[in-house]
Symmetry: C3
Subunit: 154 residues, 3 copies
């Protein structure tokens, strides 16, 4: 193991910018919102700080995952179905067999995350994209709150 700390930079922060992103999903799967997050940062003139994302639901999630091979997202859906199967004797089934598995998946993946921003750009890795993970079988309208805390252009 080797560790190396480099490129320390400081900037002034004075702004919080908040926006709402509506996402219409088409059933279980991953929706790429990276471009919309970048558009938000452009619109507000973001420079240095961090982007915080929060999804206002308990049967969908936010996740950073591979954006190259779509097979990865197919396998992620399979993996989630194995970890939270629909025919597993759940007590809560008022909204159908995909309801409780959706809550479990939301708990495992989470509803909030952040991305560092430097010089107005998200510091995502080469293969990283930001996704809304829809866990319900049917299409839903999902709302994501985007916030930038940092320094913006005058």
């Amino acid at each position: 193991m080797r560790l190396d700390l480099t490129d320390i930079q400081q900037a002034r922060i004075e702004t919080v910018a908040t926006a709402s992103l509506s996402v219409a999903t088409s059933g279980q799967g991953f929706i790429d919102i990276t471009r919309e997050a970048a558009r938000f940062l452009e619109r507000i003139g973001a420079r240095d700080g961090a982007l915080f994302l929060f999804i206002r639901h308990t049967s969908a999630s936010l996740v950073v995952q591979e954006n190259a091979d779509p097979d990865v997202r197919t396998d992620l859906v399979t993996a989630l179905d194995r970890l939270a199967p629909s025919d597993a004797g759940w007590v809560h089934d008022t909204e159908g067999p995909d309801d409780m598995p959706a809550h479990i998946k939301s708990m495992l993946i989470g509803v909030s995350l952040h991305i560092p921003v430097t010089d107005g750009k998200m510091a995502l890795g080469t293969w990283q994209g930001i996704y809304v993970a829809e866990h319900r079988a049917r299409p839903h309208h999902r709302e994501v709150v985007l916030q930038f805390l940092g320094h913006v252009e005058a």
Copy 2:
């Protein structure tokens, strides 16, 4: 899939406020701390920014989940016990059979999250509550650090 970015707002940020929340749990299960988080924001006069929560333990978690039907929390506990069973030949068992499963659950759910705050209110969805997830079988004292980064009333 449709995406729609709306309601961009900006505010000044100048304050970090920090507090400690003690939670006495009564064994495995979920404890709602949404009201205490709201009380913290009220006390400091929070307006726009984000609330950050962190739990100082490795056998408990923080999670945003459904606050309507208590059956959901029952099923979430069941799901976690299936994903991290107690009789699975763990090497680490110095504190009893629920110890290592508690660490696994803490790793899967996580110990930190954030909630956006606008006009002094958390932007939680209709059915979202903030919970401490206790993974140990016996009651424990848990400590959550609450922080608001943003703009507060003078």
Copy 3:
């Protein structure tokens, strides 16, 4: 259940400091980066705020876990291998049998987290350490972005 909110403190925030941490891993397992995170806070003169960590990969994670008994980390690796087995018929296997399981583990644990900072010290619990979780079988170079948002010494 009892809840108790104490020790509310406020400080001014005006700075975002960003740095990059390179971590050379030696295959599947956990690498402690707590000391490097503390060193970053010292170097920038951090006082009150929060430390945000982000890993720029989709087959590794960031996690806060027990730093006392190394058996815990051994069991965590075992648990992850059971939740995301390598011989499970994944479609995506271009990079070998440990590739898709690594993406699943990254999704479950996550790539971003934060730690509160007060008086220049991280508010970690007694047994908490910050770890890079390497999910690939072979050694990799991993990059973690560290950010402090808060008040720094003049």
